[in-house]
Symmetry: D3
């Protein structure tokens, strides 16, 4: 077995409960309620979010791993989880200020924080945020 895969994908899943409220400050209360419906409840609601982080690369021949998963876990904890776990995504998260916290925008905000921190030569390949068992957003860097 001498050749090597160019792109092996390794995914780690994390969980964090958080609350959020969907609303657009440029709109009236009526417009917000009409568009975001029950997700616009003034006192907010919440979810158990699943976060799936996929990195790609060649497995290191000495380790047999695309990335040191202990190191990756530490990075994801520091860069993302410590800032959103058991938090209110509208009020408590500095890097999401001004962003409507839909699943799509959460993925996008997380990507910008996390992609530069993945240890080379591994690269962030995909980020998925699962909001409910029937709804998830995903970004692949394109």
């Amino acid at each position: 077995m001498t050749s090597k895969p160019n792109w092996m994908f390794l995914t780690r899943k994390y969980e964090f409960p958080a609350s959020h409220r969907l609303f657009n400050p440029d709109w009236s209360d009526e417009e917000n309620a009409r568009v975001f419906r029950q997700c616009n409840n003034p006192n907010g609601h919440g979810h158990n979010y699943d976060l799936e982080v996929t990195v790609k690369g060649q497995p290191d021949p000495q380790l047999g791993m695309v990335v040191d998963i202990y190191e990756l876990d530490v990075i994801v904890k520091r860069v993302i989880l410590d800032r959103v776990d058991h938090k209110n995504l509208n009020l408590d998260v500095d890097f999401m200020q001004g962003l409507i916290p839909t699943a799509e925008n959460i993925v996008w905000a997380f990507w910008q924080e996390l992609a530069p921190k993945i240890p080379a030569p591994a690269q962030l390949a995909r980020l998925r945020v699962v909001e409910t068992r029937n709804n998830f957003a995903e970004y692949r860097g394109e």
Copy 2:
């Protein structure tokens, strides 16, 4: 097949996202933070709650059912889900006022609302509230 089971159990699962904050108004902020830790975050956090409703009884010989599940669904929606779905359990739910919204207390509050509304001769046998994939509370009426 002439005899009949005395107690057949029928369970329906429902989901609702909601936010909450654990705190005891009789305590100082420091005491609350020490006891409830991350669950005490002032702006709250949230969960996708699963609610499992188990009723017991003899299947109706004409229906083959312990309870008409369409009727049960309507009752659970009206008595519980419409009042907690996409809500803040501390601020938005009348029958939970003054209650610290732990999984145990949520189950207890739901039981008191729902048990009297189960259509006889079926009876409420068990109520389970799943808060995260690793935590759930259950009450069986004793």
Copy 3:
């Protein structure tokens, strides 16, 4: 560790896809449609059923098992699965003739077939039939 548990419970899960239709031959088409709604579709519909078989007993001191699970699997396959797997529960299953195939009645019919076949001293303790991820029936022999 010299003492022994009186009742250790061992559960095995099995799956089988099947089709069914809910209707009561004593009723008019209108009555059936009103009561069983979409489950009354004349050409039937179907489910991936999960069957959970729980036996109880004292673990055999030489085996460390309540029941030989290989033997249990063979019995469940012969007594239940071979007769319902990929079948129409209204038309293809001899021991369910004349029974409205609700989850409750399926559990009841399976119990009567399976309970006498569990190898002593183990006993059948619980039977659960999961019809959808949000609906299951359970019988415990009482």
Copy 4:
């Protein structure tokens, strides 16, 4: 955060129970039984199908969403679910007439119905039909 993702993916999951039978009318009964085995049972069998609908696009800056999920749910319900939920896929579904209802063909038939109905500028990116927990088909438009 001024730039925008080109392709954000948003997935919604739906469930529907249905029955089906695999057989090819051009073949003898023996040939059908040999090829489709237990899936060829004359009275059919069934599944709890999961349908995953993935759309892609740029999140609307006012909504933070690739697609209005309430609107998407209404479309999927009207175009797909109302026509297959609690139905027999061989007999009850007009747009699947003449099609052997394998998971692959179900995906293909659903794609042709649904792709033209996705509200622009979002596009249908992937359709997955999960037949059992161990079997699913997927199409990505290529």
Copy 5:
């Protein structure tokens, strides 16, 4: 809401991967292979075990909890998980020496370690060890 439940149940789930081999040292290799089949592989095999710990009691009126779950987690980690996580259950676990590591015997051994350590007035009510998605053992203290 002045009355109180007598028995509220609170369950926490934990996971640990471990390896094991089923064999009885009193038997010949042939007898072991015949009885335990593939589970008797001399170099062992392994599982991702799920451990469900259920305690019962009255919720503390100040906390709204049957047990302080942070305290429970610390106890389960110290008494069980630190001793079995990423371990070989035949060779590495002192309190399981001489025990055939079936799911039943694992539950039994865990119960004897854990039951005396549950903080009063809560009591251990149920212990479940899930070995595969189709097999689990459960003990309720009787």
Copy 6:
């Protein structure tokens, strides 16, 4: 419905429990313990591995299938499962000798065994090995 999809994807999931130990024979015990941490336990540990095999192709017009799934199951059983199920991945598997059995290397080794055996015109499109509910590796042939 006259046109045809070029690439329809069909996925089958399989499970197998196995044990493994991560270590690099070129390193000292200290170096191995430092890098692989708890996964380096000398007596090994184990997992319930899920294997997802995805093939792609055009559905056969007579079968409505990308691949005969009965045939695929037989091939995966013979080529992979019979050699790793209930085995020690370090000691018992000929085609993994000399390979550190990380999820990435397991995927890579399985791909080389399985890809040449997929019945044409179907092709192996993706292989995923799920090690725990929070960790999986995936290879797509590039």
